[in-house]
Subunit: 284 residues, 2 copies
């Protein structure tokens, strides 16, 4: 059993991890840290953490594992603040949705990265904050670890065990590969959904458009309710992979436009049928 | 109380209307018609209709209202087959998702269109067929009627009452306006979702992409499981409005690409925040 776990950032992601680990008796003590004391108090009240410490550099002392669950854009500052206070055996991991950028940040800040094991839980809901946290957020969800070459097998396994204790299925892959896969399944859809809502919002009949929107629209645009800061950071940190996916998408759109323009019944049916078959195979 | 209602096409849309109207004692007898006798038998077994008649021209005789609930691409054929068998007072309505095309078809086929009141229930799920029909599909859903100038107020009100009996809220608007609104809220999102799934399906790592897809992707692409034939027909019949919305969307995408390319943090946050605000206002 792990003695002391420190979670920096006790929002939905960090808070749900804490709840899952407490439920499964993974560690003796979870200390929370973050820049907003009122949120830490709330997390303590809700029983998400056992104690809190507003000063990151104090919070990490003697921790077996430090989980940095802050937005991508805040990683650099957190790493800077904790780097001189991490003891030799403490493992650090993160939950960032784009891995290459976090790894570059870690390499730039830390003297050595052998104890930093980058991670990304593929889970989340549109809501945020510790009030939205729940202990089954990671149950049967995938977590991708993207180890750096300096990581030891044993340390990777420790972080893997933590996520497994939270109910997740853990995969290991290269950070660049992770970033490309996620650009397709997650980053691109979010950008496309934000784009659709903003595009319709600029149309004259916007009120009517939203009034007559039905279930399909609601589902399609749900992810446009996600945290704009988080998604700005992801676009900044995984821009190349996202742009590459956007190019492919624009090409697909150009083919569809041509088919609609020329009333090419056969091509339209072929594309829609192929997409339906692919989507129907993907049941979850 | 209406005596005799004829529904041509007893799938999800027509079948659910029949169930809702039966539940609310709107009519004495519902006769179903369609080109597939086994489906009509199924509808009869399930209690969706009271009788069936495979021959459209016989099914419509003595009906107070004929609801043509077939795909857009089949409207022409159905109109041709029933036109000589409709008695003077019988009202005809339809459920097509693009109205101008259906109206043009009706004008081309029928000698007079005063008894044809075009309609579109904004409701549906990805499943289709009479087995998926349920009596609350239209409850609190909007139905848009797009009357032609020849329609009388009384006849429009009769069709409006029918949809209200099924639990719907009915709006009246011009067919072109309907087609533009629906292009934005429904047709464009469907095209975009089909495009995303087909685009990812063409990527080398397609299996991994789908394996690591999470809830956001599932919601975003749910509508790509919709009936390809129906959406082909909609693209063929409402192509101009859809293309116009696609142009606006491509422009929005080009702005986002530029912002990602130039790491324009401010623009990204502004667009995502504006979209989130618009989407959050739209609760349903």
């Amino acid at each position: 059993m792990i003695k002391r776990l420190c979670i920096i950032g006790t929002g939905l992601i960090g808070g749900s991890l804490a709840l899952a680990l407490k439920k499964n008796n993974y560690c003796q003590h979870i200390i929370g840290s973050g820049r907003d004391e009122s949120r830490l108090k709330k997390a303590l009240q809700l029983g998400v953490i056992d104690s809190y410490e507003i000063d990151y550099s104090k919070a990490v002392v003697d921790a077996d594992i430090v989980v940095v669950a802050v937005p991508l854009g805040a990683m650099h500052e957190v790493f800077e603040k904790i780097k001189s206070h991490i003891t030799g055996d403490t493992l650090i991991t993160d939950v960032g949705s784009a891995k290459s950028g976090v790894i570059n940040t870690a390499r730039a800040v830390f003297d050595r990265v052998d104890k930093f094991i980058p991670g990304h839980p593929i889970a989340g809901i549109e809501q945020s904050g510790v009030e939205a946290a729940f202990d089954s957020l990671y149950l049967d969800r995938r977590v991708i670890l993207t180890p750096v070459k300096e990581n030891s097998k044993k340390d990777i396994e420790t972080i893997q065990s933590m996520w497994e204790a939270a109910g997740s299925v853990v995969d290991l892959m290269d950070a660049d590969h992770h970033d490309l896969i996620l650009a397709g399944t997650s980053h691109l859809p979010h950008v496309l959904a934000y784009a659709l809502v903003d595009c319709l919002n600029n149309v004259d009949d916007v009120d009517e458009i939203f009034r007559f929107a039905a279930g399909g629209f609601r589902d399609f645009t749900r992810i446009a309710s996600s945290d704009p800061v988080m998604w700005r950071d992801i676009c900044l940190q995984n821009g190349d992979a996202i742009l590459s996916m956007m190019d492919k998408y624009e090409y697909e759109i150009s083919i569809l436009k041509q088919a609609i323009k020329s009333k090419d019944s056969g091509s339209l049916l072929e594309i829609f049928s192929r997409a339906k078959t692919a989507r129907d195979k993907f049941s979850m």
